[in-house]
């Protein structure tokens, strides 16, 4: 975003970030208005019925940017409308960005907090909600402060509050600061967290469009999904959709981390091939490193081999190829990184963040961690690879209450296939050659780590399946780290 000449599109073709300041400081309300901000809200309140806004979002083809890719307009269309509809409904913005490898929501809020507020106001108008909540991640003190200020300014200019812009539409948006935990980002877990309960998932049905927050009809959308809505209303669904390169349409924030020449985030047409972003905008790999694989959109997406990066970045193309797009911020895995160690790191994350609600998750994830630790630390046996495959089945979607454990199987399953040689070599040699062959600083995740040291620096991991324990996280991992 800082390298304007590198951008493949003009500011007009970037409805999310086209108005961003060059220094990336947040646009204040005057700057946002000068760039046409709140024009979409004015237009919707003046010319469009609530159903027209939902229809426009449906026609735009917008799919949820939180990772799952559910059609946003369709989600809104399930909310009961009309005279018989419940009088209280809610829109909740999921700003609990904790997906490892994702940094796009912070980027959007810090660049243009009013864009999110306008998007939320449009969503509330569309489903007939008069209260909205923005759920902000515990670590996001700066985005929280920016949003808090922006809400005050929007209220002062009459974009929020009673009878907005002289119409019958009234809206209050509240900020809710999280107190931590990945499960808060799971939609039904977020509702519980907003009610200040433990963020366990809820059984569905009832679906939240009919009984969500405090059992009222509720829509939850990701920060970026809501930020897309003003552009859709301003440009119209057809022109917005035409900004994309594939049928899905529109633009999205994509990013690169890892050992690239340039890391960062860019607003790109949906359907831009991964290769174009990695080799063009990110300038390829740093000298001396070779790309082996890409984790395309967070810890919950499958690894894509380097040979397959010509796939266009949209949900359908990724799915058809057997992968997933997730949040769109990609981690480049280079040849200095131990894939077994990286997979262990990912699984350790999921094991730690399991809320302890259902058995495949709280029992399966630490078990997978224990097996992967055996392999990474030189105690692996060939039959353990079959055991890991079996655990992927055991933690599948049909087995679990929510998507946390099934998400963990996506990188695990693909790692077992894609990096099979590495797994085999770890087992055959009884050691991790990446750690032993490349101890030099900066040459990879090496670091002189004492053999007996556990993942949290001092507590060795169990090598056998852990004993049953009470729900609420791993003893010795999650709760204790916070205490």
């Amino acid at each position: 975003m800082t390298d304007e000449p590198l951008q493949p599109t003009t500011p007009e073709q970037r409805p999310l970030t086209g108005a961003f300041r060059p220094d990336r400081q947040a646009l204040d309300i005057a700057e946002y208005e000068a760039a046409g901000g709140y024009g979409a809200l004015r237009r919707a309140l003046r010319d469009m019925a609530p159903g027209d806004v939902t229809q426009a979002v449906s026609d735009s083809g917008l799919r949820g940017r939180g990772g799952a890719g559910y059609a946003t307009g369709r989600k809104w269309s399930f909310v009961p409308m009309g005279a018989d509809a419940p009088p209280v409904k809610y829109v909740v913005c999921n700003g609990d960005e904790m997906e490892p490898g994702s940094f796009k929501d912070r980027f959007l809020i810090e660049g243009s907090p009013h864009l999110l507020i306008e998007g939320m106001a449009l969503a509330c108008y569309a489903i007939g909600a008069s209260t909205g909540y923005i759920f902000v991640r515990a670590q996001y003190d700066k985005p929280y402060a920016l949003l808090s200020r922006a809400l005050d300014d929007a209220r002062e200019r009459g974009y929020l509050g009673e009878r907005i812009l002289g119409t019958d539409f009234s809206l209050e948006i509240n900020l809710h600061m999280s107190v931590g935990r990945y499960m808060c980002g799971e939609a039904s877990g977020m509702l519980n967290a907003l009610q200040s309960d433990r963020a366990n998932p809820r059984w569905r049905p009832p679906h939240m469009a009919s009984a969500g927050l405090w059992s009222r009809p509720t829509v939850i959308n990701n920060v970026e999904s809501l930020c897309c809505v003003p552009g859709i209303v301003t440009l119209g669904p057809e022109r917005w959709r035409a900004l994309g390169l594939t049928d899905e349409g529109g633009t999205r924030i994509c990013g690169v981390s890892g050992r690239a020449q340039r890391t960062g985030a860019w607003e790109l047409p949906v359907g831009t091939p991964l290769r174009e972003m990695i080799e063009g905008l990110a300038g390829g790999m740093r000298d001396g490193y070779r790309l082996r694989a890409v984790l395309p959109g967070g810890a919950s997406t499958p690894f894509i081999p380097a040979a397959d990066i010509d796939i266009p970045m949209d949900f359908d193309h990724m799915k058809k190829a057997g992968y997933g797009l997730g949040t769109g911020t990609a981690l480049l895995v280079d040849d200095s990184v131990c894939p077994v160690g990286l997979t262990l790191n990912l699984l350790r994350f999921f094991a730690q963040e399991s809320c302890g609600w259902c058995t495949p998750c709280w029992a399966g994830l630490p078990w997978a961690v224990s097996v992967l630790s055996d392999i990474e630390e030189g105690r692996g046996r060939p039959e353990q690879l079959d055991l890991l495959e079996e655990q992927c089945w055991f933690m599948g979607e049909e087995m679990c209450f929510c998507d946390l454990a099934p998400s963990a199987t996506k990188p695990l399953r693909t790692a077992l296939k894609l990096f099979r040689d590495d797994f085999d070599r770890h087992i055959a040699e009884g050691r991790c050659s990446y750690r032993h062959d490349r101890p030099a600083a900066g040459a990879g995740p090496a670091g002189a780590r004492p053999a007996a040291t556990g993942p949290l620096g001092g507590r060795p991991l169990p090598s056998a399946p852990p004993p049953p324990r009470r729900p609420g996280g791993l003893p010795g991992l999650a709760p204790e780290r916070a205490r």
Binding site: M98, R137, S196, D197, G255, S257, R483
Partner: protein
Amino acid sequence: MLTDDERAAIEATMHHYPHREAAAAGALRTVQRSRGYLSDEALADVGELLGLTVDELDSRATFFNMLFRRPVGRHVILICDSDCCYVMAYEQMRDHIAARLGVGLGETTPDGRFTFLPIVCLAQCDHAPAMQIDEDFYGDLTPERIDEILASYD
């Protein structure tokens, strides 16, 4: 007992929710901010205002990882241990901080200056490896940079 400031800060958020119990998470955060951590007494104080028992609040305080039930140092260091930072060799930074402070993860320095904790992805992936101290983020960490940063905290 809640101080006047704590009570005012909590009451300012209570009208955001249709039920006062829903202000619990924010209330615990507020009290933690003023007292450093959540003692049993702190839970009882919040419970009295919101109509919740100590056990009900403890079930929240032990679930969410940014609520501390034990005392922490003046500054809390959160080092990201997620995938992007793993790829960018965060383990070296973790070991460097541990050696500098003489404490491991989950521990507080004897002088009460720092508590050292791991954290899930801080969304600074384009500047990995990264850490957070109190409210401030630091990216592109090197051992030298870490020494400079640590020296800037009292």
